[in-house]
Symmetry: C2
Subunit: 208 residues, 2 copies
DNA sequence: TTAGAAGTGTGACAACAGTCACTGACTAGT
DNA sequence: ACTAGTCAGTGACTGTTGTCACACTTCTAA
């Protein structure tokens, strides 16, 4: 729904959306954009969540950040404007709908619509800060603190204290290994911070 | 010298530089912008190098990237446009001269000068990629590989195989500890990849 | 219903990085 | 020339993370 953006963008820009943007639906797990692919459109999420992650040569993965409703991905802005291949992978974290904006329009709009320009700059700033926070975690924090942070984030984006993931999936997204995550989760369970089930983790109120 | 940018920006923009930019000289070690300070100007380096780094609560440091001649720092673009405090620290790596552009001008120029807009977007993309590479290093590589990468980068920015740093300084910039760096350097020396002196490291031709 | 797959729990061990303690070498300033 | 401070080397130890091996449970599909 274009109405979602009524308070964000001026009417003329919303009309541009209407005439130039395509609406795309993807299912949970679909890969929107893989590492190395050329960016062809700019996604703005309407509903659902996209997951942006980084891969290493060995195929290990690391979650960078989520793109939720009304948000977009900063990397596509800068990549697409000079037709560079993507440095990251974008996956649908759940069933997701997004607007696909043509990259040519993106460039014009920067010059003509102030709200678009500030949306772009705001998005870039936010993502920069998220990358910095990732770097903080990796450089300065241990795995148990990273895990707690990860679970909190997951819970925040889904809006639920129930997390439906296997230990293996968590390990992948954190570029760690299953056994280690299992052990740390068990410890958190013993500390009464969460409950473990098969494919599911329940964060308890005292989870900090 | 404004001539440095003759091929980068249109003449009208260079005139803007002349009338609105201040020229600033700083000495090696000077702090241009500290963590948490408000960004007041946008620096474009004329000569020398700025070092951009991240701090944790305990005061540990982590080098993010260098800003060399004709370059600028992406974070200041996005921070200044909405008057946010800096998330990083900028230090003069050596004696450095830079243009200080007023942040108000920055915003206008995005709309009026295409070369400025693409300079901004190119800078943002480059810095994004450097942050991603930092993340790669931290998530997927061991300290010895990170150290090799660090030394290579250092050598590249200074254009010399001689690196004038104590082990302690290196440890700080890599958010590690002196003894560990000493040990790894010793191992690299035994592998004939470099020579160690007091406050100096010489990379040998076979350094890969 | 049953075989196989997927998920979890754990012990044992290795590798790596951080810390502590101490030594000795070099350097700058008085 | 002496002293205090900085820098580097190293052994011993600890805690964290990754890996291997294996047991056990739960789910799924034939």
């Amino acid at each position: 729904m274009i109405e979602l953006f009524e308070n964000t963008f001026e009417p003329e820009l919303l009309e541009e959306f209407n005439s130039k943007a395509k609406r795309v639906s993807v299912k949970e797990g679909d890969i929107i954009l893989d590492f190395g692919q050329t960016v062809r459109v700019i996604p703005i999420v309407l509903s659902g969540t996209l997951k942006i992650s980084r891969l290493d040569d060995a195929g290990k993965e690391l979650l960078l950040y989520y793109v939720s409703a009304k948000e977009s991905c900063a990397m596509t802005f800068t990549c697409c404007m000079q037709q560079f291949p993507s440095e990251v992978k974008a996956t649908a974290e759940e069933d997701t709908e997004f607007l696909a904006l043509p990259i040519t329009a993106m460039d014009e709009w920067m010059m003509t619509f102030p709200t678009w320009k500030s949306f772009v700059m705001r998005t870039i700033r936010t993502r920069f800060n998220e990358l910095l926070r990732s770097i903080d975690q990796l450089a300065f924090q241990k795995l148990d603190e990273r895990l707690i942070h990860y679970l909190k984030e997951k819970s925040k984006t889904t809006g639920s204290a129930l997390i439906n993931l296997s230990h293996e999936q968590i390990a992948n997204e954190m570029a760690s290994s299953r056994e280690v995550i299992s052990r740390l989760l068990k410890r958190l369970e013993n500390e009464n911070k969460l409950l473990l089930y098969r494919n599911q983790i329940k964060l308890l109120p005292g989870f900090c």
